[in-house]
Symmetry: C2
């Protein structure tokens, strides 16, 4: 049996996983990142986590073709460097070289969203496809691009920012600093803003009841109210789906993938989101009547996608 090993580095946890030939995670180690520690200590924990995951199968890291790491932030993959990872407070960090000091197999470093897209294209919802776009609809909108089974992250490796194409010229200010980005409308954050606006405009709507009852407005609030037939919520969801369709449609017109994957919190709504989204996509894809439109489906690997994709960083 040939195994692979990958690490998904997060702001909160380090997760190392061993992947078997069927791309199942067969051993797992997780430990806190403690990102406020010096960088070298975090890296030492990463090495230890990988070694411990391997040890569960009586293996050492020398038994693996590589150790791949998916990290948040801007990554220069070629140099294994993290240029900037805000939630780790890392700037210009030589992650590969530092980790390599502790590890007897070649280390590869990639962006975590790229690794997730690669994981889905190797072992998840996109495993039968060569050209894939992944959109993560979470706090922000992450993008992953797979071209002929390889990660594409832009000429200098700092691209694939599908959440930051324009959507509403001179629209809502995005956390990235640009006005009117796709992310500002299609993220959970954007959806919550749209929900709050509807709550203010329609104080008698079920949205307000739900918010009061639960003590919170989150991405589920408008979906739950819409499913119960609330008119204000239905209008929020309808418009939100158009925003999502317009942004994804523009990216399809560029990349013409065979499949589009949605991950992140909002994707959990499943068919209630996907069905109207797929119905609406042709309206936003160039030449859709002739060229056809790829399906948008839910990503399937969830949190495992990053570990699996990282484990293949030597070849994706």
């Amino acid at each position: 049996m040939k195994y692979r090993i990958g690490i998904d580095l997060g702001g909160t946890n380090i997760k190392a996983g061993v992947v078997d030939e069927d791309n199942r995670i067969v051993a797992y180690d997780t430990r806190p990142t403690d990102a406020d520690r010096p960088f070298a200590e975090v890296v030492l924990s990463m090495a230890q986590s990988a070694k411990d995951a391997a040890a569960q199968l009586d293996l050492t890291l020398a038994d693996f073709p590589c150790l791949g790491v998916g990290t948040p932030g801007s990554v220069q993959r070629k140099f294994g460097k993290v240029l900037r990872a805000g939630n780790l407070n890392w700037y210009d960090v030589p992650l590969r070289d530092e980790l390599q000091k502790h590890v007897s197999t070649p280390v590869y470093v990639g962006n975590d969203a790229d690794c997730a897209a690669a994981g889905e294209s190797i072992a998840g919802a996109a495993k039968d496809y060569n050209n894939v776009l992944l959109f993560t609809l979470g706090t922000g909108v992450g993008g992953g691009i797979i071209i002929e089974k390889k990660i594409f992250s832009g000429g200098d490796g700092l691209g694939a920012e599908l959440g930051h194409i324009p959507l509403v010229f001179e629209g809502v200010h995005c956390t990235c600093g640009i006005d009117g980005c796709f992310e500002a409308y299609a993220s959970v954050t954007g959806l919550i803003r749209q929900t709050r606006e509807a709550m203010a405009a329609h104080p008698d709507s079920l949205l307000n009841n739900l918010a009061e009852e639960r003590g919170v407005v989150n991405g589920r609030t408008p979906f739950d109210a819409a499913k119960a037939g609330d008119a204000a919520a239905l209008a929020v969801i309808d418009r939100y789906i158009s925003y999502v369709a317009a942004g994804i449609g523009g990216c399809i017109s560029i990349f013409r993938p065979e499949i589009v994957l949605l991950g992140g919190g909002v994707s959990q709504e499943g068919a209630y989101l996907m069905d109207p989204l797929n119905e609406r996509l042709p309206k936003y894809v160039f030449g859709s009547a002739y060229n056809g439109v790829p399906m948008a489906i839910q990503a399937t690997l969830g949190n495992d996608a990053g570990v699996i994709g990282a484990a293949y960083l030597d070849i994706v």
Copy 2:
């Protein structure tokens, strides 16, 4: 001396050119397309045009590594097929196979905008760069994507439609059928519309004088009036440049090219367009403060780009 040969097929003219090792066009043949003829006759003229261009150097087509053709429309490069070229009235046409019947060197077929981008990246303004975006600001907005010196035209070859990403959600209807495309605002057509709106709102502006004097409103009208200091025209150009910057900025955030080329009518405005555009681009590029922003410059090969790019279709 090793030569290459390419054809730029247009709705009006067939242009065949022989390219030398320094990527200069050293022989040229042009003849009318007469697109209303049967397809096979147009293809015969293409073969004859290429042979005649070669004959000017006492060569036959067997002396060239390939014969490349850039054609308008949606092209399946792999199969050498034109799925749709509206201005030729071609649908599902086996261009490569038909042309190959008359030609003793391998025939390659690509989209004309892709060939233009390839030509610029081989011999023009982008020859020192591996990753390039070309935007043609003409009647529409064409896009050409070069990744590591190769044409990228999407998973199924029908993409790279950079003019059809969203720009203004629920905005002006684009000729492609989608509302609010980048093209609807950044094309010459879009600029003329914006100019006419300003003329209606400011009847005393120089825009109106120029239009009356020349008997026409075209892409030069607002630029000429702006250069003369007309306030309404300055506002049109200012906003137009923001539209262009927003669309290009979004594409930079995805592709992170080393250079951005502008072609088409509007690009003739040179520094008057490029300087403020380059000043404004950082506002629309994700992470521009850290990652930097590539320069936008004018494409240099003009109409020759398509022939030169086509001549290299076997390797780009």
